[in-house]
């Protein structure tokens, strides 16, 4: 029954390619989005609409850093990298 979640955690490397986990569904909300993982059944909150755009668009970039370069002002990259690292831990995003 409850599927055992695969062993994580790879450290987040912003120079790698990442994408939204295929078992994660997003529901957009004014504050950002709910992310639901159908595998581990965890509900995670993405706390800004811009972060939702980044998560959705990761797969179109050769690296997370490239995605941030394209989508987010440079001075905010640090906080977005930390947010993406947390999303790796919660398996909302995974290596592409």
């Amino acid at each position: 029954m409850p599927a055992s979640s695969p062993d994580v955690v790879t450290d987040f490397d912003p120079d790698q390619a990442w994408r939204k986990h295929p078992q994660v569904a997003l529901r957009e909300e004014a504050f950002g989005a709910l992310a639901y993982h159908y595998g581990n059944r965890r509900l995670i909150f993405l706390k800004s609409p811009e972060l939702v755009v980044v998560v959705r668009d990761l797969e179109n970039h050769p690296s997370a850093r490239a995605a941030l370069d394209a989508l987010i002002p440079v001075d905010a990259h640090g906080s977005y990298e930390r947010a993406l690292a947390r999303l790796v831990e919660s398996e909302v995003i995974c290596g592409a």
Binding site: M1, F31, R41, F45, K47, S79
Partner: protein
């Protein structure tokens, strides 16, 4: 652009595009007659949603990206189309968590549940022994629940949940419940007794004492693997917040769809005052959730009322709306189980006879009494 935005709790108070925690009661029919039943269940209502209406509702949930639904009743497994309904949920990507008294969960059904992906089962049990449990849930209900758990284990279902409503009589059994859950490889889920449904008649004698509330808080604060459905946020006034959202989610992140399609603000307020609409109305559930006057008003900023001067208001948010309503306390007053005792004072101002009784009752036409087997 800031990632450290206003707290999620503050955002949730304004409401969401769709609920996070949707409870759907499939039927008012029940073969038990628990003395604290939130929905005063017993008899099926002839207006209950048909199979095709139920499936249309599930399709709507899927469109709204409601990722899982909490199914209850009554006893949901009594519906002859129970598996058709939960299979449709799973097919549409709406996960199922359903609560059952276990009486219909035989070996064959356990096998079937074990095969269906994405279904969680909660077995209701309100005592760690038959005497304590059956006084509330009826004679034989303990043995039936245990048999259901044995069936799930034999079918290799995996981890199920044991769901306990905390009362004056079972708070001393917290460790025993934990041991029982460990024995079955189950997860323990504890929820709060509400003075709702038939609970209105039994709450005074069943709700935990002030000392037991402290005992429960101290026990919960050291447990990370015990689920609570965020139901004890009024106890966060004791000190550190318990895990969870710590707010009343009624009409904001939570709602209830009852067996006839009526939409209430939460599972604990099946009462005309908190009826927002019906899924059979034009616009269906989506319109009720987004546009009903009731839900819009619940999303307005609320005043701390009588609790404004209390230093713990941020922790407990004034407690549970349903518990206040059914004990006759104003909705901006203290929770009846306020840890500082303000609820006792507020309740003393309202004669018990003047408390709003349930406006919907599907109880079987025999008296339901505490500790009397039917």
């Amino acid at each position: 652009m800031a990632l450290e935005s206003p707290s999620l709790t503050d955002r949730f108070k304004l409401g969401l595009e769709a609920p996070i925690c949707l409870t759907w009661e499939l039927t008012y029919a029940c073969n038990l007659a628990c003395v604290h039943c939130l929905s005063s269940s017993g008899r099926r209502d002839p207006q209950e949603l048909s199979t095709s209406e139920a499936k249309a509702l599930i399709d709507e949930m899927a469109e709204l990206k409601i990722f899982y639904v909490n199914i209850g009743g009554g006893e949901p497994m009594i519906r002859s189309d129970f598996f058709e309904i939960i299979d449709h949920c799973v097919d549409r990507g709406v996960g199922v968590k359903f609560s059952t008294n276990g009486t219909r969960l035989d070996a064959e059904k356990a096998e079937r549940l074990a095969k269906s992906d994405y279904v969680d089962v909660q077995i209701s049990l309100d005592g760690a022994d038959a005497v304590t449990n059956d006084a509330v849930r009826g004679e034989g209900s303990y043995d039936a629940a245990i048999q259901a758990m044995e069936n799930l284990v034999a079918a290799n279902f995996g981890q199920f949940k044991i769901s306990v409503v905390m009362t004056r009589h079972n708070i001393p059994q917290l460790d025993a419940f934990e041991a029982l859950a460990d024995h079955y490889g189950a997860q323990l889920r504890l929820t709060r007794l509400r003075p709702s449904g038939r609970g209105a008649d039994t709450w005074d004698e069943l709700h935990p004492t002030a000392g037991q509330q402290r005992e429960l808080y101290d026990w919960l604060i050291t447990r990370t693997n015990v689920l609570t459905g965020d139901s004890f946020f009024h106890l966060s006034a004791f000190g550190d917040a318990l895990d969870g959202l710590n707010l009343c989610g009624a009409g904001r992140v939570v709602c209830l769809i009852d067996p006839v399609g009526d939409v209430y603000a939460c599972p604990f307020v099946i009462h005309d005052e908190f009826l927002a609409g019906n899924v059979r109305d034009p616009g269906a559930f989506t319109s009720v959730w987004r546009d009903s006057d009731l839900f819009r008003s619940l999303r307005e900023p609320s005043s701390a009322g009588a609790c404004a001067s209390c230093g713990s208001y941020d922790a407990c948010q004034g407690g549970c709306m349903a518990a206040k309503f059914f004990t006759g306390i104003p909705l901006d007053g203290p929770d009846p189980e306020c840890v500082y005792g303000h609820g006792e004072t507020a309740m003393a101002k309202v004669a018990v006879e003047l408390r709003p009784g349930p406006s919907v009752d599907h109880s079987a036409r025999v008296p339901v009494r505490l500790g009397v087997s039917s």
